[in-house]
Every structure is written in structure tokens, then in C-alpha cells.
Amino acid sequence: MKSLFQINIKTPLLVVLLIAATALVARAQDSRLQMSSLDHLAAKASQTVDVNIDERLMRLAVKVLSDKDADEKEVKQLVSNLKGIYVKSFEFDLDNQYTAADLDSIRTQLRGPGWSRLVNVTSRKEGNLEVYLLLNGETIGGLAVVHTDDRELTVVNLVGPVDLDKLAKLEGQFGVPELGIENKPKAKNDEK
């Protein structure tokens, strides 16, 4: 009877493990970051930007973006394939209002499979800036930016295929000065 039970339990166990592994891989490939661990910082922050645009809201927003306006057309082209944009940005009046532990959950997710750190810049004046990409083979499946300063903490998460070329074209819009994010080949040369 014991051997019979062992034989019977093996198959479902394998099935469960297979399902769990598949779910983990699927979860790993999902570029949406869970940022709820930062929510408590809103109470300490002097200014908070919290943007949560899921796929449904993205579709709605795309509907009202004009095709006639050149800028809006570019934005439309950029975001039409995106599945979500999530931003959490906190500005504080005092230093050290957040700890490294607050970012642990996000860093853990960004250490997961698929994510690779594109840029990591550390500066005493302007803090630490990291840019991560989720690569699904040749395509970019998501983008994350983590910017930490003495008085600022910002996490940006773009979910879905991101076209870096189109994103680079957006600079100069929305009141952002044009400073020249180059296209990929140029950026590569610059970095070298």
C-alpha cells in the first residue's frame, strides 16, 4: 500500500511543481513592479507623484491622444503597445526620510530573471540613478528607473514593449529641456 501511495503521489506532485515553475517564470517575465512597499513614504513626503496607468486606462488615454498634433502622435506611437506606466516619486523636506530597506522589495524584483541593469550612476550631489531593462530575447519587455537622492526617491516602471528610439524622441516635450538622449547606436558609441 505504501508503494502504491508513493506512486500515486509522485505524478500530482510533479504536476504541481510544473505549474508552480510555469507560474514563477510567467511572473518573472512580467515587467510590472510591485511598488506598494513605498506607499507609507507618502506620509513623510512634502510632494508625491503617484501615477498608476494600467492597460485599460492606457487604452482610454490613447483614444484621446490626437493624431493631428505631432507631439501627441509621437506619444501615441510610443505608448500604444505599452501595458502600463507606474510612477512613484517622493520629495522630502528633510534628509534621510527613507531607508535602503524601503527599496529592498523593488531591488529584489529587479534582480529577478530577465531584468538587466543598463545604467548605474552614483553621484554625491545628485544621488544614485539606475536604469533597468527587461529583455525578452531581442525585444525590451519593460523598463524601470530608480532614482534615489537625499531628499528624493523616484521609481518609474514602464510595462510592455518599450521603443527606446521613440522614447528618446520625446525629450524636449512636456517642458523637459532637450538635452539629447541619443538613439541606441550613438548611445553605444558614447558609452564606449
Binding site: I53, L60, V87, V121, L133, F174, G175, L179, I181
Partner: protein
């Protein structure tokens, strides 16, 4: 021949019948336990119940998890709508109050117009609400893109101005 013998074995037996009895007696029922030959024995059936029970449990757990995730994601997206709608309502409300207070006669007429075109009014209200939501989403989208481009520009500026030893550039695209 005594026929009683055939009924209840009484009286004188007929020798021919006795002979027949002896011959056929060898085929008489003899009680003995049933022995089924090995070759004819049915194969031992596997008990699939535990397997099916575990599979059913796993399926139910997965379904429950799916429903839970669905409900959770649904709840997460609801506050975004709630954030946007009240701001719009505030903008619309004062104009309605202003229109209705100075002219009471018009205020009486208006409900009948609304009642006649109820369906159209509902659909247009829905469209209006959807449009307001879309505009709010667009505003949020612009804010998000502004922050994103700001940070990317900062990253670009730093990578192009910071000395190489301070930059840990780990690009993998090319």
C-alpha cells in the same frame, strides 16, 4: 413399474431407471469452492481516487488563486477612477446650480426633457464620463512620461559627463 419411485423414490425401482440414475449421477452437483484459473483472473485495478482527489484540489486551488488575483487587480484599478471623477464633478456642479436658481420655470421644464431622452442622456453621460476618465488618464500619462524622460535625460547627462570610473554601465542591448 411403480411410478411412485419417479416422484418420491418410494416403492420398487425400475432397473432401467436405476441404471440411468447411476450413469447420470456422475454429473450431479458436488459442492466445492470456486477456483478461477490464473489465466482467466482479471487484472488488478489501480486505485485512481487519490490521484484524482489531488488533481481536483490543485485545480480548485488554482481557480481560487485566479479569482483572487482578478478581484485584487480589479480593486487596485478602481481607486484610479475614483481619483479622477470627483474633480470633474466639482467643475460641473456650480454651473448647474447657477442655471437653476434664477429661473424656476426652466427648472420645471428640464426634467421632462430628460425623461423623454433618457436613453440618449444615459449613453451620452456614459460617453462623457468615459471621455473625462480618458482625459484624466492622458494627464496622468503625460506626468508619467515627463518624470520618465526627466530621469532618462538625467541618466544620459550623467553617463556622458561623469568620469568613466564612476559609471558602472552594464548595457546589454546593441
Amino acid at each position: 413399474m411403480n411410478e411412485d419411485y419417479l416422484w418420491d423414490k418410494s416403492g420398487q425401482p425400475d432397473p432401467q431407471i436405476q441404471e440411468l440414475e447411476e450413469i447420470l449421477g456422475t454429473l450431479r452437483y458436488q459442492p466445492k469452492p470456486l477456483v478461477i484459473p490464473r489465466a482467466l483472473a482479471p487484472a488488478r485495478r489501480r486505485n485512481y481516487f487519490p490521484l484524482l482527489a489531488i488533481a481536483a484540489t490543485v485545480l480548485v486551488a488554482l481557480l481560487a488563486a485566479g479569482v483572487w488575483i482578478q478581484v485584487r487587480t480589479g480593486k487596485e484599478s478602481q481607486p484610479q477612477q475614483a481619483k479622477q471623477v470627483p474633480a470633474r464633478v466639482e467643475e460641473v456642479a456650480p454651473s448647474v446650480v447657477k442655471d437653476s436658481t434664477p429661473a424656476p420655470k426652466r427648472a420645471i421644464k428640464e426634467p421632462s426633457i430628460v425623461a423623454v431622452n433618457k436613453r440618449r442622456h444615459n449613453t451620452s453621460a456614459l460617453k462623457q464620463r468615459e471621455r473625462e476618465e480618458a482625459l484624466a488618464a492622458k494627464e496622468q500619462l503625460m506626468v508619467a512620461l515627463r518624470v520618465t524622460t526627466e530621469k532618462l535625460i538625467l541618466a544620459h547627462r550623467k553617463t556622458s559627463t561623469t568620469p568613466a570610473n564612476q559609471i558602472k554601465n552594464q548595457h546589454r542591448i546593441g
